[in-house]
């Protein structure tokens, strides 16, 4: 890993490599199965889960329908509370705004709360380019950063690492970033956590600028909400003099009463807790407490394009709980890096092609990174029908069609490399729409069945590398029915 998602191979190749990595597979299987069982238990405790889930979907849908209204309301409330609101149309603009704000403080380093939005826009690299060092303070993000790695999970970015690997990373790399790891550090979780605590404490106390994302933005009061387990986020949003929050425009919820629904849905779905240990909320600035200056950067970066798509827009309901990753059999084997973006797993497979488009090879391959088993939809706390969106995006890849790109309605051309498949699908449909042709084909297959090879050439090899092909029966059902009228039992 080199700290960038640029130029990643298409999903099937990256996934094949990951699947062959035994240690990675073992780490992922262990971690995802543990959390998925716990989630099921935590959700099972609530008798009104189905109603909560429906409410979670409905509130987001209504908010997204009137997003312009709620965003303006949020902007006014944040401004009235002493904050400054900035609007960023894309990643580049957001990075430019944040970089400028940091430089204006004269500081050369910032502490960061774990944030998906800043991963999405590649903020750390942009800051580094401007000579500003960004320190990740979430334990797992710290492991990723020290290891010059990329996150592979929304909630547990270092899920692909085990404790021995973490010990190695701490021992070898902490010194480059600040306080070195204690001599003789073992791989006991308690010792590893203590090493991280000592390393990070120094940074919290020194930092003058904090950067965060947010899980929610309550429009009626302009309040930002961060939900976390470690408390590091709270340090970042309270200790520094300047706080900058980069927040996707879909994170807005109208009222505190609406927020209540998500504060129940999120912890049970993500960490399988009834309630998360730390919920930090802040509204603008407050006299003699917390940051002196607060900036909110509202990020679009493809979200209004997704909003214009009547099927795809449900992906914007996502509250980044990662339950869909933890139950996904494909994620479990492919790992997060194969998805080529900050958003791995099922949600990444439907979100990334909407935010970035389907022109690159990896983005066009993402909607196919699923067996459509539906486990993700079953656990999603805001009822995003991920298989439905996957198929919808597959259509966009192979057929093209209308879409909104950077605010403009256009007709997309099909992605490259599907001509042979398109011809095969058309031919199959042609035959299937003519039962006489289908029957003739079945008869040829039956007559030649002793000649069928066990290993197929070309695309068929992908099947026969690991699976036998079934023997073709001497008589199709269709022919049996014609011969017997369905009257002859065995």
């Amino acid at each position: 890993m080199s700290g960038t998602y640029l130029g990643m191979p298409a999903f099937p190749e990256a996934a094949a490599t990951a699947t062959a990595n035994g240690r990675l597979r073992a780490n992922l299987t262990h971690a995802t199965h543990t959390i998925r069982d716990k989630r099921a238990a935590a959700v099972g405790e609530l008798t009104d889960w189905a109603a909560l889930r429906a409410a979670g979907a409905a509130v987001k849908d209504r908010t997204l329908r009137h997003l312009d209204h709620y965003l303006t309301q949020a902007e006014e409330a944040v401004t009235a509370a002493g904050g400054t609101v900035h609007w960023a149309a894309d990643a580049r603009e957001a990075n430019r705004i944040v970089t400028r704000l940091v430089r204006e403080t004269g500081e050369r380093e910032v502490v960061k709360v774990k944030s998906m939005a800043t991963q999405e826009i590649g903020l750390n690299a942009a800051l580094a380019g401007a000579g500003v060092r960004a320190y990740e303070t979430d334990l797992a993000e710290l492991i990723v950063q020290l290891g010059d790695d990329l996150p592979s999970h929304i909630l547990v970015p270092a899920i692909h690492r085990n404790r021995q690997e973490i010990r190695e990373i701490f021992t070898e790399r902490m010194a480059d970033w600040g306080r070195p790891a204690p001599v003789g550090l073992s791989d006991r979780p308690g010792e590893l956590a203590e090493a991280a605590r000592l390393h990070l404490r120094e940074k919290f106390l020194r930092a003058k600028v904090g950067i965060s994302g947010a899980n929610f933005l309550v429009a009626e009061t302009g309040t930002l909400v961060v939900v976390e387990s470690e408390g590091n986020g709270r340090m970042c949003v309270t200790l520094p003099e300047t706080l900058i929050s980069v927040v996707g425009i879909e994170k807005v919820v109208p009222t505190w009463r609406d927020l209540e629904v998500y504060l129940q849905l999120l912890p049970r779905s993500s960490t399988a807790e009834r309630m998360n240990p730390y919920t930090s909320t802040w509204t603008g600035t407050t006299d003699s407490d917390g940051p002196r200056a607060f900036h909110l950067v509202l990020l679009d970066n493809g979200r209004t394009d997704a909003l214009a798509d009547t099927v795809g827009r449900q992906a914007l309901r996502c509250i980044r709980c990662s339950a869909c990753l933890n139950v996904c059999p494909v994620y479990e084997r492919a790992g997060g890096h194969a998805y080529g973006s900050a958003y791995p797993g099922p949600i990444g497979a439907i979100l990334t092609p909407q935010l970035r488009g389907t022109t690159s090879e990896v983005d066009a391959s993402l909607p196919y990174a699923s067996s459509l088993c539906g486990a993700c939809y079953e656990v999603c706390p805001v009822a995003i029908d991920i298989p439905e969106v996957l198929v919808h995006l597959r259509e966009r890849v192979v057929q093209g069609g209308p879409a909104t790109v950077r605010g403009q309605r256009t007709r997309l051309k099909p992605a490259k490399g599907h001509a042979a498949e398109r011809a095969a699908m058309r031919a199959a449909r042609w035959a299937l729409d003519r039962p006489g042709v289908l029957r003739a084909g079945q008869r040829v297959a039956a007559r030649t069945r002793r000649l069928h090879p066990g290993r197929l050439p070309g695309p068929g090899r992908a099947w026969t590398d690991t699976r036998e092909v079934p023997a073709v029966p001497a008589e199709s059902f269709r022919d049996w029915w014609r011969r017997t009228g369905g009257r002859e039992d065995r």
């Binding site: 059999p329 494909v330 067996s371 597959r394 099947w463 036998e468 369905g486």
Partner: protein, 250 residues
């Protein structure tokens, strides 16, 4: 009650025995199923790969072939789910594209009448004991579309529980996908194979002689993987177990 069998293209071509078992089973229960020869494929492979336009003629064909029947019964959870979940979507998209209501009407005509076999047995005929005899140790894999899209729940298991002589053994990780996924099995062959291998390992660990599902498309993958691994466990469709009696074993 006029009942049509939608055998599905894969059973028609590769697993005719399953179709014949359904005919035999229903006859035993007093239902003479008909086989409209105009039927072919529900269009799922095309639709799920992104070729909605290639699916539309097959939706029309399905609706025309099964017009006039009270029920369309199919031994496939996946194909039943295709009709019930996706035909209305195909209709809605065509309408949104300004191509009228024809496909929506075609969908509406078949959606409420199309049932997977176990739904027809348990919900329409009201039977769970179909008088079957199958003296083997069997494990059951709930295929994803039957489990999650149709919500078959305990229906297949209740039917299996009532089979005389059958020793039903629990499959660990039963609800995990086998990794078939239609074109997924070749587009993402490595992940599909890894999922299949894990499923096969779980199946072999049960000590069962046969693995039963309500979907032969998944069996194509599960059975093909088991065979390649040299396992003697046989893939068998639920219909064939239910059709078996002490006089004739399918």
């Amino acid at each position: 009650m006029r009942v049509a069998l939608f055998v599905t293209c894969i059973n028609d071509t590769l697993y005719p025995r399953t179709g014949r078992a359904v005919v035999s089973l229903l006859r035993r229960l007093g239902v003479e199923a008909e086989f409209p020869e105009a039927q072919s494929c529900c269009g799922q492979p095309q639709f799920n790969t992104g070729y909605r336009w290639e699916t539309e003629p097959l939706v029309r064909r399905f609706a025309a072939a099964f017009a006039g029947f009270d029920y369309v019964v199919t031994p496939s959870g996946s194909c039943a789910a295709m009709v019930r979940d996706n035909y209305p979507r195909i209709g809605a998209k065509a309408a949104a594209e300004g191509r009228g209501e024809e496909l929506t009407r075609a969908a509406e005509a078949v959606v409420p009448r199309t049932l997977e076999l176990t739904e027809f047995l348990v919900d329409v005929l009201g039977v769970t004991d179909v008088g079957a005899y199958y003296p083997h140790r069997v494990t059951y894999h709930p295929t994803c579309h039957g489990l999650r899209m149709l919500g078959l729940g305990t229906k297949p298991k209740r039917l299996l529980d009532a089979v005389a002589g059958l020793d039903l053994v629990e499959l660990p990780g039963a609800q995990e996908c086998c990794g078939f996924g239609g074109t997924f099995s070749v587009k993402n062959a490595a992940v599909s194979a890894a999922m299949g291998a894990d499923k096969a390992r779980h199946i072999m660990g049960t000590g069962a002689q046969a693995v039963c599902t309500v979907d032969n498309s998944c069996q194509l993958h599960i059975g093909g993987t088991l065979a390649r691994l040299g396992s003697p466990v046989r893939p068998v469709h639920l219909a064939e177990i239910l059709a078996s009696t002490d006089k004739e074993q399918w």
